[in-house]
Amino acid sequence: MQIITRQVKDKPLTVTIEYPEYNDSVSGLIRKINSMDIGFCANVDGRRIKIGLSETYYIENVERKLFIYTAEDVCRLDLSMSEAEALTADTGLVRISRTCIMNTDHLKEIRQVKNSHLEAVLDNGEMLIVSRKYLKDIKRVFQKG
């Protein structure tokens, strides 16, 4: 794949994709670029901030309240789990348990702890419990490219 970037003044950021034939790699690339425009409005210390999808590490439901985790911050989201899941459909974010949605872009490794539960290790060193039921969904994200 050849990547060419060029500065064009007074025009919005534009991405042009040229491909010899439309395949899974191309659709995966389009999906990733589209997902860059998605963001969450979160509350932190009474302020409202926008958190981009790429900054999101995971979203967790704690006692029916939704929290979004970035590399440094934890913010409250005014969404339900199903709303967050719908918003992140067809992106790199995937449900990994009943209470957690993880960004696979920050996934470093999946491991099984001695024939026991499954763990997802993120690139910031955090570990999340993965339900076996959702392992297929994680695999599907990587199959899409």
Partner: protein, 143 residues
Amino acid sequence: MIMRKILKDTCILAALMILAVFLISIIWSGVTDEIGLVLKLFGLAFILSVLNCLFDEYIYLSIVMNYVVKYFAITGIVMLFGFIVGWFYPNNFWMAFIYVGVVIILAYFIDSFRVKKDIEYINEQIAGRVITSANFAPEQTEA
């Protein structure tokens, strides 16, 4: 992968064929013993699928404990269902432990193998992603 899809589709198609053929037979000649047995099996399969779905959603245990708990839960339901529909009697109810045991052991090995393969696949993809991003070097021009 293709073989698995074919086997899965075969099972679904066979189930649909059985239901379609039996539906016509029920209209024609009512519920016979054979049709009743198959419908009861479908009913039991539905109850077990609901239980399995709830179990996977709400209970986090190790893979071995998961199957041990499932074994006793499923055996209990099969026995209860068997007593209600007349499959089991007080002198042969223990057979449920054998029937469920065989299915659970097979499911355990298939599940363990599948989980291992899925983890390997995901980790391979992550490793490939790291190599690709390390080789990233865009050309830059100005218009």
